[in-house]
Amino acid sequence: MKNVLIVDDQASIRQIVRLILRKDFALAEAEDAVSALEQIKLLKPDAMVLDVMMPGEMDGYQLCEKIKQDPALADIYIVLLTACGQVADQEKGLALGANAYFVKPFSPVEVSRHLIHALQVK
């Protein structure tokens, strides 16, 4: 089973993503970018569902950039999940190496379908 790390400071969003992905993926969770980075190094997830705006030293954009610049981690498939709805925000995320970008409010079913397709699950 492929591993997905869910990173969001909002417990309710982590719960929604967990509920929709748990049938098809092994899941781990983090509520900020710094603890996510620790988990990434331990778990080497296949994909991440990553919030952009999080409190703490690093936001989702910075974490995404860090991962994509590290050759050992760059293959991780990153889905940005964010409340930043401007086109410029989306372009920034994709320019930093994110593989997909969902704006909140998002369809959990669509996120699940997207990841299943992207990771060629089933």
């Binding site: 309710s12 709805g85 704006v103 409010p105």
Partner: protein
């Protein structure tokens, strides 16, 4: 900055300028006291007209220091009963519009968070099979998020909050 008004203007022109000017204007009488302020003055400075009327010019200038006024000019007038006019504004309209746009963008982002939960939990309840206990738990969380969103709307979209 102090400049001299060379020619006296017709009363109707002065009246139109006074009423419709985009600037806040305060008049100083021959005794050196504030004798009148135009309609935009209070909005521009946040100062109460009643508190300003009758102040000496020095006290008036002190009062202006505590306001968001960015640009203030003094014009010597020298007409009967009037020695000078001050005109001022807080900020350019484009700057004000930018501030509002940034504020509204921030509110939109704040509202998207609970809205995402409401959308997400609703979709899960409609499309997935859960036992009764889980359904009740999810519905309860859904109601919590609706309350959070309602509070955000009440707090953030209040006219007084928007104008701060």
């Amino acid at each position: 900055m102090t400049t001299k008004l060379n020619d006296s203007l017709p009363p109707l022109v002065l009246q139109a300028l006074w009423q419709r000017s985009l600037f806040g204007i305060a008049a100083i009488n021959n005794e050196g006291h504030v004798s009148a302020v135009n309609p935009i003055f209070e909005r521009c400075t946040g100062l109460d007209q009643a508190a300003i009327m009758g102040l000496t010019e020095d006290d008036f200038n002190l009062a202006l220091l505590a306001t968001p006024v960015r640009e203030c000019n003094r014009v010597d007038v020298g007409v009967e009963g009037l020695s000078a006019l001050y005109y001022m504004r807080v900020r350019s309209s484009s700057s004000s519009q930018n501030t509002m746009a940034v504020k509204l963008s921030g509110i939109a982002e704040a509202l998207r968070e609970p809205l995402a939960s409401i959308y997400g939990f609703t979709e899960l309840l409609l499309t997935q099979d859960y036992d009764e206990e889980t359904r009740i738990d999810l519905t309860s969380t859904l109601l919590d998020q609706i309350e959070i969103m309602s509070n955000l709307i009440n707090e953030q979209l209040d006219v007084r909050t928007l104008n701060k």
